[in-house]
Amino acid sequence: MKVFYEKAKVISLKRIGDSYLEIVLENRNIARWGRPANFVLIKGWENYDPLLARPFDIVQADGETGRFMLVIKVTGRGTRLLAKLEDKSEVSVIGPLGKAIEDFSISRIGLLVRGVGAAAVVLLAEKARERGIEVYTFLSASTGSRLVCRELLEKYSTEIEIATDDGTIGYHGDARERVSAYLDEPGFDRLYTCGSRRFARFVKDMDKQGRIEGYLFLETYMACGMGDCHGCAVGKATGEGYYLVCKDGPVFRSSDVVID
């Protein structure tokens, strides 16, 4: 797959709540070629500390305007620097990376996401709907202000259920309970999850029980993002060796990988 290493211009940067950023960037190639499950490596600072570029999911990609969007949780040194980017400044971007989801020969998918994990599935929801697939989204967070990509997911989902641990918005409790209510009726051809280890274990369980085909968006430390460094290993369920999250993933069938 062709990968680009180019500059992208900051079109807008919006702070959402106290810890999220929504960044719109301009780069024709990423915008044109970004597909569901693709991510980019972003470096928005000079000098060697932080040294590595940071991986983020492509949340929106519009080939016509040449713009794409990222939603970023500010957690550490790199994301703090990204939070300081000014409009019209430039960042370097490597992408699109990762194996895109290309197979849409299905009729109904479920998306179970938490926190910034929601960013991973927006483009999937959009593209699935374009193809007439039904999208059921279960969006969760500890509290209302931590709900990420809510509007976009509302737009692209056939149905959306929101759950917060403290009940500020939506269902007061665990989103898994809401998913369970749908597992048999209408049922999903595939259930994707991102953003919570507990959710991943749940999906793996349901998959094992044969109730769904479960898919996990995985995150690991990454250096190269394209299979050179072998840094992003995740154990194969067979026990024999590892997959590379950047190249073999980031999405894996839940039964294929070891999670702890």
Partner: protein
């Protein structure tokens, strides 16, 4: 325009820039940026005779101006190398260096012979310095062992041998001299330094393998010193590796005594770095009135 050509053991490289082993795959993705055919030479990630799966994750962690890796050399083994990797590498039409390692001298011999028999590689690089294997660095630490592994591989293959050494010794220049005495045609300096990060939340080492090898800009001044001090003790060419992130870092290495340079982890940060380094060296030579890169190899020793 100045000539970028250099020679190692009689083999011409059209320029002195190559990847460092283990940091660059000859993939479709990489070809997006430039063709590996533009490099002076190409090298594979170290292979062993047998298949290996590598270390448990986490395998990498960022450190100040560097990164630790504890990959542990996953490899498909010699068969996979010959059948899958080598044909891909051949297609670029530049000299191929085969990086090999083993758990015993016999392993080193066998994998080297198998590689040499293909007739398709120009050099064998003996990775004597991987800090992520239990005995990985020992090869480059013990003078006798170092001498004998090099001597025996040299005797059993008819292509030039590069000894890749570890900086984790009292005096890497001395080990370079041992390598030369044992018959190495060149040395590659340096592999990574063993280091570690402790996760203060979990209160245990962060990497799956506990320790990892430090690479990146952080170690560049140490790598330059390794090259500089070795250049004074040996006559065989040096491939300078460690923390090169720009053409000027590469020029430093060459002035210190490297005939060629290897670029590792910075390929991850800037996929164009090797091409930029080739161009940067070329401009530097022109701007400073040199006709060939060979004129500046070791130039920093003039006044030393």
């Amino acid at each position: 325009m100045a000539s970028l050509e250099v020679e190692i053991a009689g083999i011409r490289l059209k320029n002195p820039v190559m990847p460092a082993s283990g940091a660059y795959e000859y993939s479709e993705e990489r070809k997006s940026f430039f063709s590996p055919g533009e490099l002076g030479a190409i090298i594979n990630k170290t292979i062993f005779l047998e298949k290996r799966i590598g270390n448990p994750p986490p395998r990498i962690v960022e450190t100040p101006c560097g990164m630790l890796n504890a990959i542990g050399i996953p490899t498909g083994g010699i068969e996979d190398f010959i059948e899958t990797q080598l044909p891909k590498m051949e297609s670029f039409g530049v000299p191929i260096i085969a990086s090999v390692a083993g758990n015993s001298i016999e392993d080193f011999l066998e994998v080297s012979e198998r590689v040499a028999e293909t007739g398709k590689v120009s050099f064998i690089e003996l990775n004597l310095s991987c800090p992520n294997l239990s005995e990985g660095i020992e090869w480059a630490r013990d003078r006798k062992q170092l001498f004998s592994v090099i001597e025996r591989v040299k005797a059993s293959v008819d292509i030039p041998i590069i000894a890749k050494l570890s900086p984790m010794v009292s005096d890497v220049a001395e080990m370079a001299a041992v390598s030369e005495d044992a018959g190495a045609d060149a040395v590659a300096l340096i592999n990574t330094y063993k280091g570690m990060v402790i996760d203060i939340e979990e209160k245990k080492p962060l990497l799956g393998n506990l320790t990892g090898g430090l690479s990146g800009p952080a170690i560049h001044p140490l790598a330059v010193y390794a090259v500089f001090s070795s250049y004074r003790k040996i006559k065989i060419p040096i491939i300078g590796i460690g923390g090169i992130a720009s053409w000027s870092n590469a020029v430093e290495m060459i002035l210190a005594g490297a005939t060629a340079v290897g670029i590792g982890m910075y390929n991850f940060v800037n996929p164009m770095v090797m091409k930029e380094v080739i161009e940067g060296i070329s401009n530097y030579l022109d701007d400073n009135g040199f006709n060939s890169v060979k004129e500046i190899v070791g130039l920093a020793h003039r006044l030393g």
